[in-house]
Subunit: 138 residues, 3 copies
Amino acid sequence: MPVYTCTAAQGTLTGESKAALAAEITRIHVAINHVPPAYVNVIFSEPPPDSVFAGGEPGAPLIVSGWVRRGHPQEEATRLALELSSAAARVTGVPEGHVMVVLQDGPARSAVEGGLVLPEPGEEKEWLARRGEFGRAS
Amino acid sequence: MPVYTCTAAQGTLTGESKAALAAEITRIHVAINHVPPAYVNVIFSEPPPDSVFAGGEPGAPLIVSGWVRRGHPQEEATRLALELSSAAARVTGVPEGHVMVVLQDGPARSAVEGGLVLPEPGEEKEWLARRGEFGRAS
Amino acid sequence: MPVYTCTAAQGTLTGESKAALAAEITRIHVAINHVPPAYVNVIFSEPPPDSVFAGGEPGAPLIVSGWVRRGHPQEEATRLALELSSAAARVTGVPEGHVMVVLQDGPARSAVEGGLVLPEPGEEKEWLARRGEFGRAS
């Protein structure tokens, strides 16, 4: 259900650190927002170094930007962002001073996965049962 | 006015299926949200396969993420998301089980196209008349 | 604190015009939203020309999409979008008729930079003091 996009200039992340970061984002999101791991999508976007700026100068940020369903308590969104930031620094070696995490939320009813409108937070169980009838890969 | 970004690992979509999906997104958005086709922007982002994960493992989702003006009725946003999901699977051959559609909205007054602040939903007509004085390519 | 993503087909922007646009976005954001320049992130995404569509046809838009903290007055967001649009056309040579600017906002408390939850608009001063103790590159 969530979609995370991680952006860093080419050369900032290795294949190994991308896999490790995807695994950590998935683990943390599952623990806090209660969806099965298979529903956590993580994409990496790696523009060339001359396409990444901070303060108008070539920069080296790692930006983790996530879309999540609206309706989770704010304190959980804050905790999610803090844990993602800390994990991103830890598994990639990028200093946490260069890590930024942004969570954007939107109405579950404006999103569709596997042909089904997403459930409101807290109503995942019935949705997953319906979803199971189709199968993730159906 | 809307901006759709379609993300799938390299090799998931052909040039033909990208053109077909852009055409379908445009057709469906025009039918439901009542803007002229020329104002529907569709971008494809195709990271290498080692940059796309679902459940912490290399994955093959097709994610269609759209920005639309806030103020459309929720049921129309839901219908738009459902029709986009179904069309995306149909024209690309990606199983709908792997398709995700997310619509995010924002205030029309926080967006500018062709030098003009976007109109609220329902106020497109006057805006388009003003816009015509400039010309799309002016 | 803000993250701007500029999207245009490969070949639309030169290295020089990307640097100039990043500098202008930074200057304008700093002037209107009162954050130090070092906190303005700008990323360029340049898909191949066959991946950019307007009206279902290959197109040539320049799309500037920004994430900003929620809570700034709407009139300032509108002014920010208008000035960014005008600057983007001026420094890149892309006709303003092809430029689109979208500002999306989200709760400051759903975002983390340098390990610290972002401040609400107007509360930057204390936050920057705390941040200084860590150092941007710490």
